[in-house]
């Protein structure tokens, strides 16, 4: 259903030249891409950069009239590549200090998150804890093959359906399912060793 809405918006964008359609696509996925990015990057700014760059690239992709099977997967794929580029440029060190220094600088007013009323500090601490957890998990997962790592995080952390993961990894859905199954076995092995 979600994909059909995306397709309709893309159709409007292409035929009606409606920029609002792109804005709607942005509204639908900006948070998800941001969350996806922040767990893998060292700072909030980096995550924001990657997120906005992801949408800019997606816009270019649409303008070039490339075929888009799954818009959501396209966004994740772009974000993933951008993060990988940053990793290549300088291996990020997700240190608690770095995260704290950035996230506490946030000057945002208090907002409701998931029905809970959180202050800046509360919100920042959620990010810090999540990043720390992610960092720990990622360090353990580093023992796994890259494919396994990707499929596990995309499925278990980012909670993406196999169809989207298949689009991100540019592999058939069946292959992704098999990959996930094997990655889970490998994960159990790592656990038993540690």
């Amino acid at each position: 259903m979600s994909n059909i809405i995306d397709k309709y918006l893309l159709f409007r964008l292409r035929t009606k030249q409606d920029p609002e359609a792109f804005a709607t696509l942005y509204d639908r996925y900006v948070e998800a891409i941001y969350r996806f990015s922040i767990l893998k990057l060292s700072s909030k700014e980096e995550a924001e950069d990657v997120t906005s760059e992801t949408f800019t690239r997606a816009w270019q992709y649409i303008q070039e009239r490339n075929e888009i099977t799954h818009f959501r997967a396209l966004l994740y794929r772009i974000a993933r590549n951008l993060i990988a580029d940053r990793y290549r440029r300088a291996k990020p060190i997700i240190s608690l200090e770095a995260i704290t220094s950035v996230t506490f600088e946030s000057d945002m007013a208090s907002e409701s998150v998931e029905g809970k009323f959180m202050g800046d500090k509360g919100r920042a601490s959620v990010v810090i804890e999540a990043q720390a957890e992610a960092s720990l998990i990622i360090s353990k997962l580093e023992r796994l093959k890259e494919d396994y790592r990707d499929v596990l995080t995309l499925r278990l952390v980012d909670d993406l359906p196999f169809s989207v993961i298949a689009g991100i990894l540019e592999k058939p859905v069946g292959t992704v399912r098999v990959l996930f199954h094997r990655a889970m076995k490998a994960l159990e092995k790592i656990d038993s060793l540690s």
Partner: protein, 366 residues
């Protein structure tokens, strides 16, 4: 036991849900992107309907959608092609088959079906004529084989004999019910075809045993009978309406038929056709054989056809005349058959003129 890492990852997923980007940043980025999009997009212009449809199809059903559909769709398509195309191809392939071939049965069934579904007696007759032409081709194919199969030729002769009888009956009906022009057209075709059948059957006799030869002669006799019927239709239609077929055409048909029968049977047919176009009259004369044959061939009959002055003095004699021709030809074939049967019983036949042979066989039968 559940993996620790798995639990941790699921916990992280839970935590991740509480991570939200700054609202201000979201708004600012949205603004920037929207502005960029508005600048990049061309001013509202009329988009072609074809482009809209193309975009709709490619956006909603991208190539990958079809990838999943390809196999089942192709399978169904192949199945339909196999059923429809396959049967059509089989029928067309069967049309080139000969007796004894795998698809020959299908060919015959297809022909029968076509005749059955044909509308009108004239249409049915046309098809029957066409299919008889196929039998002739098949017969030629059988006899052109290095080893002539007596059995196959015998079967084919029997089929042709049957076909000839059917054609004769169908022609009689068509001549009664159809327009004179249609009847004459059909009669002309059948006349040509019967001549062809007689010749083809004669050609098949080369390497046959005497018994089969006799069967072939029977078929030839039937073909001749149908040919005479066709000529009769032409003659009758000529008398009814001179415009549909000329007297000289009828005369030529009789002459040609007589010639073929004579060639095939070696029995000189007592048919002499004289035409006199100058006076506008065509005279067909049947006389006794000029040879000294002792065979009992029909007595001379004279007929005046299609006088330009409108005199139809011999109208009633047309069937009589053609009965005579029919008797003459059937007798010629009977003699031929007797000759073949005689040779199969190892009778020492004197070689010489055909007259001698006729005498010999006639004597033996008596």
């Amino acid at each position: 036991m559940k993996s620790n890492l798995l639990i941790k990852m699921k916990e992280l997923r839970h935590r991740e849900r509480f991570i939200k980007p700054d609202e201000a940043w979201i708004r600012a980025t949205r603004q920037t992107l929207l502005l960029r999009a508005e600048q990049a997009l061309p001013p509202q212009s009329k988009v072609k309907t074809s482009t809209i449809i193309k975009d709709a199809v490619s956006t909603i059903f991208p190539a990958t959608t079809f990838q999943y559909m390809t196999r089942p769709v192709f399978a169904v398509f192949s199945f339909i092609v196999l059923i429809l195309g396959g049967s059509m191809m089989s029928v067309s392939a069967s049309e080139r088959s000969n007796p004894g071939d795998f698809l020959y049965g299908l060919k015959i069934v297809t022909e029968q079906t076509r005749i059955a579904i044909a509308s009108g007696k004239n249409e049915k007759l046309k098809l029957k004529t066409e299919f008889t032409g196929r039998r002739v081709s098949e017969l030629r194919a059988i006899t052109s084989a290095p080893q002539t199969d007596n059995q196959k030729v015998s079967e084919m002769a029997s089929v042709l004999k049957q076909d000839m009888s059917t054609l004769k009956d169908q022609l009689a009906e068509v001549s009664k019910e159809s327009t004179p022009a249609a009847a004459v057209e059909a009669a002309k075709k059948i006349d040509t075809q019967t001549n062809d059948v007689i010749v083809a059957l004669q050609e098949s006799k080369v390497n046959l045993n005497a018994e089969t030869k006799a069967q072939v002669t029977e078929a030839q006799s039937a073909a001749s009978e149908t040919g005479v019927k066709a000529i009769e239709v032409m003659a009758v239609k000529h008398q009814e309406d001179g415009g549909t077929v000329s007297a000289s055409d009828v005369a030529a048909a009789i002459k040609e038929h007589a010639k073929i029968v004579t060639d095939v049977t070696n029995v000189p047919l007592p048919v002499i056709v004289t035409t006199s176009t100058a006076s506008g009259t065509t005279l067909v004369v049947i006389t006794a054989p000029t040879s000294t044959s002792s065979s009992t061939l029909p007595l001379p009959v004279a007929l005046e056809l299609g006088s330009s002055t409108g005199t139809q003095a011999t109208t009633t004699t047309i069937p009589t005349l053609l009965d005579q021709v029919k008797d003459a030809t059937s007798q010629a074939f009977a003699i031929q058959k007797e000759k073949e049967v005689a040779s199969s019983t190892q009778v020492n036949v004197q070689t010489g003129t055909s007259t001698t042979i006729i005498t010999t066989t006639s004597t033996k039968n008596e």
